[in-house]
């Protein structure tokens, strides 16, 4: 990437950082919380886009990975005293583990716990994916939904680790604006790089036409599995950030409502577009928050979900490919030479356009 092409994205990052710094200094807890929430949803939507949008393998199990990430990292960072008090039945090999070191302003333990949790969850995703990625179409949706249910049942019943249906609380609130921003940026960068890589092109190719892709030697399983595992990694990161943001949670959060919320963001933004996912997340988080306020005033609880679902149906009827399809916002051309020399002409999009059907 040349310096000029990097200039657009870097400018956006710079402006966002300034905005974050202002927000951080302002002490507006409500807006800080909203932005952290938005960051989490961007991570979830972008990683679901990798798993489902790029490959056409429709996964409903992503929130299961998020849940595993949340619980795993929360167990790891819980200080020893709290662990003894809240999770007295933990097996001894994990009861003595505590990732609560803080070096200066940096909670290194939290970073390590997040990474460990995400790697563990990726391992689970690899095992599950090796089995499930063989399926396609509707069946993978049902099977991954099965995975979500299994995770939920296990979380509810593994009392020694999760306190079962009781709230898992007293998690140290490590997650702040900066952690969320860094992980969000990392997720977007990695997924965007994957889209532009040969793996990404394999994913899109087997999504558009599996037989044609196979006939020119493109593997089907490998790119699907890669997308599934990397998507699970970042979902687990989102789970860890969520756990250390909300500080107390129970298995009920990680279920179908959240799954559907993320799918809404993905589909509205466009399956296959990283910037589309970001836009989708911003739109739905913003709209959801506005509607929630309307609910609080009018006491018409349930209204926001209905409005969002209606918008969702209208979008898939009127604009089935979402706002952006699989195109990207051309940030990298923001500073292209139009001002002092001729534009190098429209760059051919390496990913095939046209029929969006998986």
């Amino acid at each position: 990437m040349t310096a000029r092409r990097a200039a657009g994205p870097l400018l956006v990052i710079l402006l966002s950082s300034v905005a974050l710094a202002v927000l951080d200094a302002s002490g507006q807890a409500f807006w800080q919380g909203l932005v952290i929430n938005l960051g989490l949803f961007i991570i979830l939507t972008v990683s679901l886009n990798l798993t489902s949008g790029f490959t056409g393998v429709f996964s409903l199990g992503q929130i299961g990975f998020m849940a595993l990430g949340a619980y795993a990292s929360a167990i790891l960072t819980l200080p020893l005293q709290e662990k003894a008090a809240y999770l007295p039945n933990l097996p001894s090999w994990i009861a003595g583990v505590h990732f609560d070191e803080v070096v200066g302003p940096v909670p290194l333990g939290f970073l390590a716990a997040t990474l460990i949790a995400a790697v563990l969850v990726s391992g689970v995703a690899w095992l599950v994916g090796r089995v499930l990625m063989r399926l396609s179409g509707h069946f993978v949706a049902v099977a991954t939904l099965g995975f979500l249910v299994i995770v939920r049942v296990v979380l509810f019943n593994a009392d020694a680790f999760t306190r079962g249906s009781r709230t898992f609380s007293n998690v140290t609130p490590y997650t702040n604006l900066w952690w969320t921003a860094i992980w969000t940026l990392g997720t977007v960068y990695v997924v965007w790089r994957i889209k532009r890589s040969s793996y990404g092109r394999d994913m899109f190719a087997q999504r558009e036409d599996r037989v044609a892709a196979q006939s020119v030697g493109i593997r089907v399983m490998d790119p699907r599995l890669l997308a599934f595992v990397v998507g699970a990694f970042f979902s687990a990161v989102a789970g860890s950030l969520y756990a250390h943001f909300i500080t107390s949670f129970s298995p009920t959060v990680f279920y179908f409502d959240l799954t559907f919320r993320v799918i809404t963001m993905l589909v509205i933004g466009g399956m296959g577009s990283v910037s589309g996912s970001i836009i989708g997340a911003i739109l739905i988080v913003g709209l959801g928050e506005a509607l929630r306020r309307v609910e609080d005033v009018t006491l018409l609880y349930g209204l926001s979900s209905i409005v969002l679902a209606v918008i969702f149906i209208v979008v898939i009827i009127v604009r089935p490919a979402g706002l952006l399809g699989q195109r990207e916002v051309p940030l990298d051309r923001l500073f292209d030479g139009r001002w002092w020399r001729r534009r190098p002409g429209p760059r051919p999009d390496p990913t095939p356009e046209g029929d969006q059907s998986p």
């Binding site: 056409g56 429709f58 049902v142």
Partner: protein, 324 residues
């Protein structure tokens, strides 16, 4: 011991009937449209609410049931017309996504309505007198609602079989499931066939919803989620898209659940001296009583195994499973 086994069999048949009623609805729609109708469980939930409303209004049970079925069928038809028909012929996943949204609308619409009516989220279901109590045959005691569920399932599924084999509309429905485009070329009115499939599946879901609510004793706007998941499993086990397969899958699932529940903790339950201690130890280790709470996880693992080993299900054909 025999009594216990018979009671468990009745439980399995009763649960199986409800799963079969739900699974058939899913399978009919899937067979024609290739749509997994996620909102099917919420259609069932709507039926339960309609029943509560009618019974609460003091209507006799028969009238309440008629209104419930008619109302649910209307909901099913509206759902098809508004949320699925415009998407027909589009990407495969679009209708599936739309059905999630329909489910959200039905759930939250119900939640909103109950709130506006000043009712709590969780409502006790007024179990009608005709269905409460137990039937005693000699030493065997089974609850009446279980027997009624089984009989209702068998009768309705029998009627459905007559419909799809003996009537022109039923025949066109099967033709549409076989090959939608060819059926259209043969002059079959696809819209009518699809609407009929949704109407029948909603009616069956209504009956299942009513019986499910009687068994559970309470209803809430989210009650449809677990049954629809079970119905998916039943339909997949039997062979998605096949009506007979869905019925079979429903009963297989009913038995599977009862077996998992009955086997959990069996090591502790067996009378002393009936098995050698090693066997008991083995059973206690591998089938602990806590297994019962993992029942849903176990049936989903079975589902995933079926999808992998025999994706076309018990009665499906190979080309039904879109695998590589």
């Amino acid at each position: 011991m025999t009594d216990y086994v018979i009671q468990q069999i009745v439980n399995a048949l009763s649960a199986g009937s409800l799963y079969a009623l739900m699974a058939v609805g899913l399978a009919m729609v899937f067979g024609i449209l290739r749509l997994i109708n996620f909102a099917h469980g919420d259609v069932m939930m709507i039926a339960a609410y309609l029943a509560v409303f009618c019974i609460g209004a003091g209507l006799p049970l028969e009238a309440a049931l008629v209104i419930m079925v008619v109302g649910t069928v209307i909901v099913g038809l509206l759902m098809e017309r508004i949320a699925y028909r415009p998407l027909r012929g589009g990407p495969e996943v679009a209708m599936l996504l739309s059905s999630f949204a329909v489910g959200q609308i039905l759930q939250n619409g119900t939640l909103l309505t109950t709130r506006l009516a000043g009712k709590p989220t969780l409502i006790a279901f007024p179990s009608p007198e005709q269905l409460s109590g137990v039937i005693t045959l000699g030493t065997i005691t089974v609850s009446k609602v279980n027997v009624v569920s089984f009989v209702a399932g068998v009768v309705l599924l029998g009627l459905l079989t007559l419909f799809v084999t003996r009537t022109t509309l039923g025949l066109s429905m099967r033709a549409a499931a076989e090959d939608l485009d060819a059926a259209r070329l043969m002059g079959i009115k696809v819209n009518r066939v699809v609407a009929t499939a949704f109407a029948i599946s909603a009616a069956l879901a209504a009956v299942a919803g009513f019986l499910y609510a009687v068994q559970a004793g309470q209803i809430n706007p989210y009650m449809g989620f677990t049954p629809v998941l079970k119905a998916f499993i039943a339909a997949v086990i039997g062979g998605f898209g096949s009506i007979a397969g869905a019925v079979l899958g429903g009963y297989v699932l009913g038995f599977l659940e009862v077996v998992v529940t009955a086997l959990a903790g069996i090591g502790d339950l067996l009378p002393a001296g009936s098995v050698p201690p090693e066997v008991r130890g083995f059973l206690q280790q591998w089938l602990p009583s806590s297994l019962a709470s993992y029942r849903d996880a176990v049936v989903f693992i079975v589902l995933i195994l079926v999808l992998l080993v025999r994706p076309q299900g018990i009665l499906g054909r190979r080309d039904e499973g879109d695998l590589e």
